[in-house]
């Protein structure tokens, strides 16, 4: 049993780097366009909602609405970047371009490929989240000193959502199915997780659901860091995100083994 599952696990702690570097080499050729494309949406949400609604709302939880929203946008953009990289780009590498098929004929295992893809998607999430953090800091909506605390939380958010999206990629018969994940899971999660407005505004039952959502844990890590406040229950949030990263990783690797190594 173990021997059957072994190809779905990383063969060693460094093989995945070759997969990451392959993606980096391809991305480097379109880096500028990719960065602009990835940042335009969260930036326009930040300024549009932040200034527009901020004017009406005034302060939230002891800070300006745009400062409150900035952390939400950082977490959300990390979620969206990691997800899109996995369900669109990695899926194309697996299904359309047969890039994975070529790698499976080398000493790398399927697990090495999946880990490399998750690490790559998390890297893009880190890039997107960091860029927004820097803009927020530069405009005075967050503290400079917050950056070293925010970065690990953004990276962990990226790994978590890349892992979750890998399960979706492993199950999807074609890319048409990804819209369901976006509209039925990601968008509601964004509204429930306290990214855009405080969770205390939600009815009690929704609050209890929201407490389990991975994005809630990301927001609860990133927002205090950016506002220079102490983080409540650091271990709980980090632990929850780690579980949301590790378990789907194993599930996706097992599903992909069935899909690609039949």
């Amino acid at each position: 049993m173990w021997q059957r599952f072994a190809p779905a696990l990383p063969a060693n702690p460094w093989n995945w780097i070759a997969v990451w570097r392959r993606n980096f080499l391809v991305w480097r050729k379109v880096a500028l366009a990719s960065i602009l494309g990835n940042l335009a949406e969260p930036m326009s949400s930040l300024f549009g909602l932040g200034f527009g609604l901020g004017m009406i709302i005034g302060g939230v939880e002891g800070t300006s609405y745009i400062s409150f929203l900035a952390a939400g946008m950082v977490a959300t953009s990390a979620m969206v970047s990691a997800t899109f990289e996995t369900i669109y780009a990695a899926y194309a590498r697996m299904q359309t371009n047969c890039t994975w098929e070529a790698v499976l004929c080398t000493p790398l295992t399927l697990g090495d490929i999946v880990l490399g893809e998750v690490a790559w998607a998390a890297s893009k999430a880190l890039l997107a989240g960091t860029a927004i953090t820097i803009v927020a800091v530069a405009l005075g909506y967050a503290e400079w000193s917050s950056i070293p605390y925010a970065l690990p939380a953004i990276a962990l958010t990226g790994v978590t959502f890349a892992s979750l999206a890998m399960v979706v990629s492993a199950l999807a018969p074609s890319h048409d199915y990804f819209i369901f994940y976006q509209s039925l899971i990601l968008t509601p999660m964004m509204y429930l997780s306290g990214a855009i407005f405080p969770m205390s505004q939600l009815p009690g039952s929704f609050q209890r659901i929201a407490a389990f959502l991975p994005l809630t844990h990301s927001v609860d890590l990133i927002r205090p860091a950016m506002l220079g406040r102490p983080v409540d229950s650091l271990g709980l949030h980090v632990g929850a995100l780690c579980i949301y990263a590790a378990f789907p990783f194993l599930v996706s690797a097992a599903l992909l083994r069935q899909r690609l190594m039949r």
Partner: protein, 304 residues
Amino acid sequence: MSTAAVDLFEVSKSYNDRVVVDALSFTVSPGECFGLLGPNGAGKSTLARLILGVASPDAGKICVLGEPVPTRARLARRGIGVVPQSDNLDLQLTVRENLLVFGRYFAMSATEVKAVTPSLLEFARLENKADARVGQLSGGMKRRLTLARALINDPQLLVLDEPTTGLDPHGRHLIWERLRSLLARGKTILLTTHFMEEAERLCDRLCVLEHGRKIAEGRPHALIEQQIGCQVIEIYGGNPHELLPLVRPQVQRAEVSGETLFCYVRDPEQVRVRLANRTDLRLLQRPPNLEDVFLRLTGREMKD
């Protein structure tokens, strides 16, 4: 541990109750070119996947380069180069970058890849295309790059899944010539193909497959001699079923396939004389080949 490059024993594989490989055994010796010959759907690509450990057999034993597969396939793959049926190069990257990326999968450093790149480009006749994007290359060039990429780790064994399918005759001949130069360098080649000519030209030994079963095995010329052993006349232009009784007394054996009548004859002249007044027919006399062997063994042509 066996000394064979590839050793299959009673290997079976089914997909949803459809048997794709059926209790198949064969051995590929180091340094030989072994062909898996069969029509589409005979199980050739599945066999290639089983040998690489990308798929697991339902039953039987596979050993490749001394490693049990699939359990230790990862180690076996260090010494294998693969040319898949359809190209899976990185189209956005250049020729050189494709080699670099692939070398990394074999734990090669950039310096190590750089050191072997010129000889691989020369081998693939792509010296002038080193910095071209792969998306801009012709089909034949891509195929040659895929072959060069398969050599990045200096493999002992090459697994080539229909390496010339989709190429024009010129491209095909160039690949054949390159493969022969690899055999001369002592590489072992396992080749799947449905081209009779390819199998006849390149392979030291062949395994002819139908529905995942071995229907013949041996040296190409020995197989032809054993199974056919006489001249062939192909007759077109008439109804082959009406022609059959006409020529029957003159031929050793005859087969109808589509609109063609294949006559296997010791003395072709007799058939010509017999059909001399039928100006509507076209007769093609030729030496026997593997296509005839396949037709003899299965009752149908492999061409599709």
